[in-house]
Amino acid sequence: MDREDDKLEQPLAAGGPTLTHRRHAPPLYGVMAEFENPTDLVAAARRVYSLGYRRINGYSPYPIEELSEAIGFTHTSLPLIVFIGGVIGGLSGFFMQYWIEVINYPLNVGGKPFNSWPAFIPITFEMTVLFAAFSAVLGMLVLNKLPQPYHPVFNAPNFALATRDRFFLAIEANDPKFNHAEVVELLKSLDALEVNDVEV
């Protein structure tokens, strides 16, 4: 399930754990490293993950399959949601017609049986696709928590380039292993162009 993600995207409450250096600074969301190319980003993400950090996230201008694997995010319940949506759509499509044509308003059309089910298939199919497509789009948006007008990562310097040609890796401050000095040191050792604090 995507539940793990819910915790990950929670910004750290003021006065969170282990922020020894930053007790009086504004609350910290995490530390963001900037990379020049996808190879460096994926390599860094793998390294950070292997060191035991789990509340990490990558940001890239296009989907990188290796990146979501590197941060340990490989499962999504979206296909299940779409399947359930499709089943509901198909059943409601068929039984809407059944109820109308057989129970509520039976009409003799050319001597066909009231439950002339082959004639109900086209609409059943269309309703299946309609509901499944809505489930896919709304499911994706809801799981991604979009629309979300404000997010701390937008405070990172150069983050506007995440939709152009730059690649980012964030270690979030609510990671159990998070230690500000260590994290900054680690990210600097990973071919990052820049390492910056990101405030909530």
């Binding site: 994926v42 941060i71 086209p122 269309e126 696709v129 991604n144 937008f154 939709t163 152009r164 040609d165």
Partner: protein, 460 residues
Amino acid sequence: MDEAQKPYTEGPMHSTAPVIDPGLTFASVTDKISSIVLKRKTSLAWFFGFAISFALFQLMMLAITNLLFVGIGVWGVNVPVAWGIDILNFVWWIGIGHAGTLISAILLLLRQRWRTSINRFAEAMTLFAVAQAGMYPIFHLGRPWLMYWLFPYPNTMGIWPQFRSPLMWDVFAVSTYATVSAMFWFVGLIPDFATLRDRARSKPFQILYGMLAMGWRGSARHWHRYEMAYLLLAGLATPLVLSVHTIVSFDFAVGIIPGWHATIFPPYFVAGAIYAGFAMVLLLTIPLRRFYGLEGFITMRHMHNMAKVMLATGLIVGYGYMMEAFFGWYSGNKYERFMIWNRMHGPYHLYYWALILCNIITPQFLWSKKIRSNLLALWIISFIVSIGMWLERFVIVVTSLHRDYLPSSWGMYQPTVWDWSMFIGTIGFFFTLLFLFIRFLPMISIFEMRTILPEAEVEE
């Protein structure tokens, strides 16, 4: 989707032009496509084209106003030809739309990576064509203001629609198609809205694109779900597009009119739709890529591939015509035989032979690589095919209806000036929407273009 991450490599199988200009980078792709929307000064040619389209759009409004004011008698439709060029135009427009879904969904599932640079544009074309198509059956109702009676809703009259009719199937098919196409298009646009939000200089555009981007930030988790949603939508749109034109063909095939009642209709209609749609995509992209200097994105490879799809579907359509004639003869049924004879030699025989010329003879030129490489020739062929597909529907709708079983109820059909105004007007409306689209939205999917660049590959 691992295929999508690899850069395009020139194998021996692909000795033609590359799918993208090899000199492009993330930055240049982003800047070049977004600058068409954000920075480029609106050219005089754009205003000129928009003004003409908008004027024709007003003609449509005039035609609709007159229709609503006076009644459906302003159109040439009457018994026996109760479905004139208005239903014909519905089929023609919706067929054009199908190429967009084919490019965006079916070619995605088949991992045809060249689709990337034309899919956004083709999807927009789908949406705008379906908008035109949707108007015709509604205004054809006689009392269009009661169109909501088509939907099953509990009402004080205590009545419900009749779900055994293909016309009801049509309502569901077309409205589902329009909805799913719009969602597919919008989902594809979200990451590009974010790109525009971050590139826009003026506050109103930052806010506008920011709202549309819904806070997209390119997170790896988001991308993962996004890719899944996109793939599932493509998987859903693929059977959907086939079902829509199948159901459109049922509007005819379920009827017992000779010339309509044929089992070949569903596949033949679907192939015809793709044929007409690719012709329209070529018709639009050839001038557009030239005008906006997009030769690096939409390369000759795309032109060749689209021409080949057009040729292949054209041959299927040609097979359909042959089979129609064969069925007519082989049925041994005098009404079927008369229908084919009447098409070839009756009062509308010129339409039939023009259709054969446009749809079967003309695309044969596409066998030649030299002609496929000549953009002007390709444009002219696409134009002829678009006319041919219009004639095809004319032949199916009008010549089948005007002489059926009883000679006493035979008649002729002549479209009136209001029929033509409506048709020309919808072309204007289509181009109005298209001009607005190319001015305000990225006509090439920026994020998908990034994925096919050589530098997009993660080196292990």
